[in-house]
Each structure stands twice: as C-alpha cells, then as structure tokens.
C-alpha cells in the first residue's frame, strides 16, 4: 500500500517513503524477533558452547586437572585416530543404507497409495504405527524379533530353509549387525518418508500426465520424466530430514547392539555418547559432535545441490 499527501512534491514523497520503509522494516523485525530470540537461545547458544568446549581439555571425572585450553588437540586426535575414521565410515554406511532403503521402499508405497480406495485412511493409519513408536521401543521390538531362541523372524527363516543364514545370531555377527540395524531403522522411518512423498504426489498437477498420455509416453517414461522431477522437492525434504536424523542414530544402536559386536555398529553419535558419559571427556566429545554437525551441513548442501538444483517445474 502506498500513501502520499495530495500535492506533495517528489523529494518529500520519497523521504516519506523511506520513513515508511524503515518503519515497516522495524515492524517486520519486531515480528520476527521472538523467532530470532528462540533460534539464538535454542540453537546458537548450545552450538557456540559446544564449539568452545571442543577446544578445551575438560574431563568431568577429573576436576583436579581443571579446564584447560586444548587448542586443536581434540580435533587433531579426531582426524588422526583411525578409530574415529572407522566410526565415520560406519556412520556413512548406516546413513546411506538407511536413507536409500527408506527412499526406495517409501516411494514404492507412496506410489501404490496414490489412489483413493476404500479403507485408504485405515491403511494410512496402520502405516503410521511404526513411526509413532519411540526408537527405544523399536530397538527392543527388533531385539525380540531377532532373538535366536524365540524370535519369529529367525523361526520363520529356519522353517523356510534359510536356517543356515541365521546359525550365528544376527546381532552378534559383525557383518550382519549393521544391515540389521538399517532394517530396524527403515521399519520405523519408511512411514515418514512415504507420507512426505505421498503429500508430494498429491500436489503433482494432472496436466503434464494428460499431455504425456496424448504423446504416447509409457508409464515408465511418465514416472521418470514427470513424477520424479515434480517430486524432487518432496524427495529433498525427506532425504535431508532422514539424513540428519540418521546421522544422530543412537537409540536403536544402544538397545540392539550396544555398539557391538566388537565395534561393528559403533556410530558417531554412539561414540560421542560413550566419550561424554562413560569417559566424561567433555572436550573430545564436543569435538566428535562438531564433526557430526559438519557432516550434516555438508550432506545438506550436497543434497540441495544435487536434488534441489534442477529445473523448477512450478
């Protein structure tokens, strides 16, 4: 809205416009101030605190040693320690595995559910159940399900002749434990991915399909040239959120394997926890958390570039 006095001259009008703009800016700033304060308090202060701690030598169990500046010691250890690098590798394995499985299966389910049918809402509600369960409970459920004595999955595998695969309990098998964690995580989060993608599918306009149909495009062509590109924003949301949450995976690792067997399922978040709450090494643990944070930022930027950087179809 533009206001001006009748008969006012140019410069006076412009000055008034500037005042208006400045007033509007102040007003706008006032509106976002609560959110800004919230972000600073909830996000920036803890982050800054963690950054500061990561440069300290601080062990809660040894207050007699005091809190001393450590320079880059924690980071040097972080990047030269082969265990940390192995842990980063295991974390990538988990994140890539979990996100891929969830995306592929979630997309398939979303496509299957993208038609209204009787009982659609019931199916949708049932689909959400795993997502509503706390990760700790999911961990216990899967630990039970995979128990080599009475777990139904193991029993079933033995019944259908795949007993050889589960001779050694899966969670105690170093090469099987991580894939099993990925399956458990996928079981919990596929509904989330499905819902995000389903919402995306619902917003895809019908016209491009009509045009493609007239042009004689096959269903596969329609999927790859229309559905997938138009679904890109939803895929980006699902993948970014799931990557960030997978990087922090802790609960199911803690409950299902405790990081074992050996170090086969020890992820960065678990390592950070162990350093913070078993060794009480606050400084090094903060450095581990900063590394996790850095990886999350890099992942997010990469996804934005790869998935979000294409043509805008809106």
């Amino acid at each position: 809205m533009i206001l001006f006095k009748a008969g006012s001259k140019g410069p006076a009008f412009l000055a008034m416009g500037d005042r208006m703009k400045s007033k509007q800016k102040t007003k706008g700033f006032a509106y976002i101030l609560p959110a800004l304060v919230f972000i600073v308090v909830i996000f920036m202060i803890p982050l800054t605190y963690t950054v500061v701690m990561s440069f300290l030598r601080w062990n809660l169990l040894r207050p007699d040693l005091g809190i001393k500046p450590a320079g880059f010691t924690n980071y040097v250890r972080l990047f030269t320690d082969s265990f940390t690098l192995d842990t980063v590798g295991r974390t990538f394995y988990f994140v890539v595995g979990a996100v891929l499985v969830e995306l592929i299966i979630g997309l398939c389910i979303a496509l299957a559910l993208d038609t209204e049918f009787k009982g659609w809402k019931i199916v949708q509600s049932i689909l959400l159940v795993p997502f509503m369960i706390a990760p700790v409970v999911v961990g216990y459920v899967w630990r039970f399900v995979l128990n080599s004595d009475y777990g139904p999955i193991i029993h079933l595998m033995k019944q259908i002749g795949f007993g050889g695969l589960v001779d050694k309990p899966l969670l105690s098998n170093p090469s099987a434990a991580m894939p099993v964690l990925i399956v458990a995580d996928a079981w919990e989060y596929i509904p989330f991915v499905t819902l995000v993608l389903l919402a995306g599918l619902k917003s895809v306009p019908y016209e491009p399909y009509e045009a493609a149909f007239v042009d004689g495009a096959s269903s596969i062509q329609r999927f790859f040239y229309i559905t997938l590109p138009l679904l890109r924003p939803s895929i980006l949301v699902a993948v970014v959120i799931r990557t960030l949450t997978s990087l922090r995976v802790f609960d199911i690792v803690f409950i299902m394997t405790g990081g074992g067997p050996g170090t086969a399922t020890e992820t960065l978040a678990f390592y950070g926890y162990r350093t913070a709450f078993q060794a009480y090494n606050v400084g090094f643990s903060s450095a581990i958390n900063m590394l996790t944070f850095g990886i999350a930022v890099v992942f997010t930027i990469l996804y934005m570039k790869i998935i979000g950087g294409g043509k805008n179809y809106d």
């Binding site: 062990n59 004595d149 969670l171 105690s172 098998n173 170093p174 394997t257 405790g258 050996g262 078993q278």
Partner: protein, 426 residues
C-alpha cells in the same frame, strides 16, 4: 498486626531452616528398596526426618555429576556404587566419612571389602550391599543321582559345583544339551558384563589390569589365555547369549534353561522370586573357580558394592553419620535383607535368621572370606572408561572374530595407556 505477621514469618523461616530433612539419593533398585524400609524406624529413633530422591540407574551418576559440577546438588547422603567414589572424592564432592566424629562406631573390621572404600587412608563410602561374581548353579541337577553317575562315568570324578576352571569346563560341557538345556549362561553383549568374564579369568590366572605404576598389563600371557577361555566357554552357552546382558542371562537361568550362570550373587534373589522363577529353591551359589594349582589361595574375585557416602556440602554431617550407623547396624541389615539385599557385614551374613531366609548365604559368606574382593573396575576416576569403554569392546572384537586375542588386548592396552597419560598418571 504487621509486626506480628513479620515475626510469625521470621519464626517460620527459622523453623524451616532447622526442619530440613536429611536428603538421601539412590538409584531405583532392590537394595535401595531394602534400606528404604529402615527410614521410618530411623526417624522414630532419632527424630531426624529423611527424604529420598531416586533416579534410574542409567542416569543416576550423570545426575550426581552434573549436580555437583554445577554446585546445585541438594543431596546429603548419596547411596552410590563403590566404583563412583574415586571421582567424587578426588573432586571433593564427597566428604571423608572417617573424619566425622563418632565414625569409629561403624566397626570396619566387620565389613569385608572396606579397604576398597579408602583413599589415602580415609573412608569415603560405607558398604551396604556386597556381592561377588561367581556361578549360580542348579542344585537339583547337581544332586540328581543319575546325573552324578553319568558325570562320574564320563569324567572320572564326582559332579560338584566347580571349584577349578577345568571342572567348570567339564560341567558346562556335560550339561550342554541344546536347545532345552545349556551348560552355562554368559553375557556376550558388548558391555561391562562381558568384560567381567575376561577379568574373572585374568585374576584367576594371576593376571591384573594395571601394575603398581598404573600401567596396563592385561595383554600378558594370562590375559591371552583368559580371553581364549571366555570364547571356549561360549560354546556351551546358548548362541543367543552372545547378545545377552545381565537381565537376559538371568531370565534364561531362572526359566530353567541352563545348568549354570556366570553372573553375580544378586542373581539368587531372582531365582527365589516365585513370580518369575521356575527354579525356586533349586539353585546355589559358588565363588568363581580358579586353576587347580591355585586352589586354596586367596585370589581376587569380582566384587560389587553399593554404599553410603556423605556430600561435602551436607550441612549436618553428624546427622548423616547417624543414618549410616543406623542403617548399617547388623540388626537392621538382617531385617532389611529379605526385601532384596545381600548385607555388607559378616555379622549379618552369618546370622541364623538370614541363613533361614537364604540357604545360599553361607556359601556366599565363605566365598567372600576366601577371596580378595576386587572391584569390577580399578578404583580411579578412569576405571569405568577402562573396563566399559576399552576392555569390553576388545573382548567383543575377539569373540566376534574381527581381531585375534593378542591384537585385541594389545590395542586395548595402547588405549588404556593413552587414557592414563592424558590423566597425568605418568
């Protein structure tokens, strides 16, 4: 009117200062339930009110540490694991109880393992619950005449609760009849429980975690043998035991699916719990076996203890000591024990009333008298990190087959060495 009101307010304020109860804290657990039954009697006898805050075990230490570090702890008498007191005492968060006037009434000579509660000659924790790592076994199976005859026939000696590591292996092999009965239940999940299997054998074979100069020495020949022995015993355990923790191991044993369980004494309370055990009255306890050549020697045995400490910030330390004297009195320990505690005093362990409630308590007392009670982790602030964070993963790596025994132990020793250097030990 206003003056009267102000006066009343002042009086109430002063009264409230004096009426501050003794503030206890603990984890949620059965031995805490046991001493909680004494709180009312204590108040009746002394007029001192007591209040308790309980936390889940998993975050109890965190709560204490964060409270003490921030200076906002409101606990006078924390009931803690013996493993925690070194860190708390070095930081002066807890007070040397032996410095409180009247402490001599505690009668330390009656408490086995009290030497573990001392730092620089001062006592920081008074044990209330004591237990040992050992073997709980199925008495009914061991006393079965057919089993005895078959065992004698196969191994050439009498079937008895194992005293030596050799007997332990034989008995586990003999009773291993999967899937209905396993020879032994062990705890293979990567945790402090798994580390105990290694440490018990290391000690039994004459090894140690650290030497006198606090340097790690568990990659010795005894260490390698101990680790290999752990793996050997797992062949007589349920394959699922590779991911068992304490509770799962106990569940297997109390459901009658194994002849022995390598756990610790508290397991006997679960055995006797009619609501969940199918072997009530059918189990016994024996201390951890040792090599035949070391029979009769006093060797270190896994020792777990919880007890009472006193916060340095406690305003009335005499009241705190009153509580300690009351709750650890033999009579009170005996009366509280059936709720779920193994008393810390010999006088309580050997009392006839307790022997009636717990027929196995005599075997426990005798195991306690014939060993060197050795805490589950070295009593230094880094002890927990060494056992849970370094030794447990090393044992797990060996069991998982990702490292040889030598490599797993050598790597673990290097890590402990770094930890100790960081801690300024050398």
């Amino acid at each position: 009117m206003r003056t009267r009101f102000m006066l009343l307010l002042f009086v109430l304020l002063i009264a409230s200062c004096f009426a501050v109860p003794l503030r206890l804290s603990s984890e949620v657990g059965i031995h805490t339930d046991a001493w909680k039954t004494r709180m009312e009697g204590f108040t009746k006898e002394t007029g001192i009110e007591v209040d308790i805050q309980q936390f889940p075990y998993a975050n109890y230490l965190d709560q204490l540490m964060l409270g003490y570090t921030s200076g906002r702890v409101e606990i006078d008498v924390p009931y803690i694991s013996m493993l925690w007191y070194p860190a708390l005492s070095i930081a002066n968060y807890i007070y040397p109880i032996s410095d409180i006037p009247g402490y001599e009434k505690i009668n330390e000579a009656d408490i086995p393992g009290i030497r573990n509660a001392k730092l620089n000659g001062k006592t920081y924790i008074v044990p209330y619950m004591n237990e040992l790592g050992g073997i709980i076994y199925r008495k009914d199976l061991f006393e079965d005449p057919v089993e005895k005859a078959n065992f004698l026939n196969k191994y050439g000696y009498e079937l008895l609760p194992p005293q030596t590591l050799e007997q332990y292996r034989d008995v586990a092999e003999f009773f291993n009849r999967p899937p209905d009965l396993y020879g032994v239940t062990m705890m293979g999940r990567r945790s402090i429980f798994l580390a105990t299997h290694f440490m018990q054998r290391l000690w039994a074979k004459g090894g140690a975690l650290l030497d006198m100069n606090m340097r790690p020495i568990f990659n010795s020949e005894a260490g390698v043998e101990a680790l290999e022995e752990v793996k050997y015993m797992f062949q007589f355990a349920n394959p699922a035991a590779m991911n068992y923790d304490f509770q799962e191991a106990l569940n297997e044993f109390i459901s009658g699916r194994s002849a022995m369980a390598e756990v610790w004494t508290t397991g006997m309370f679960y055995v006797e719990d009619e609501s969940r055990s199918s072997i009530v009255g059918k189990a016994g306890f024996v201390g951890f076996p040792r090599p035949e050549e070391k029979l009769g020697e006093k060797l270190p045995m896994l020792y777990i203890s919880w007890g009472f400490s006193v916060s340095s910030s406690a305003p009335d330390k005499e009241a705190a000591l009153e509580w300690l004297l009351y709750v650890t009195e033999t009579k009170n320990e005996v009366e509280a024990a059936p709720t779920g505690n193994i008393p810390a005093r010999f006088s309580a362990l050997n009392s006839p009333e307790l022997a009636e409630s717990f027929p196995w308590i005599g075997d426990f007392a005798s195991a306690m008298e014939n060993c060197i009670p050795t805490p589950i982790v070295p009593l230094i602030p880094e002890g927990g990190s060494i056992v849970s964070g370094i030794i447990a993963p090393a044992v797990s790596e060996f069991l998982a087959g990702t490292k040889t025994a030598e490599k797993a132990l050598d790597d673990a020793v290097k890590e402990v060495d770094r930890l100790m250097r960081d801690g300024g030990y050398y």
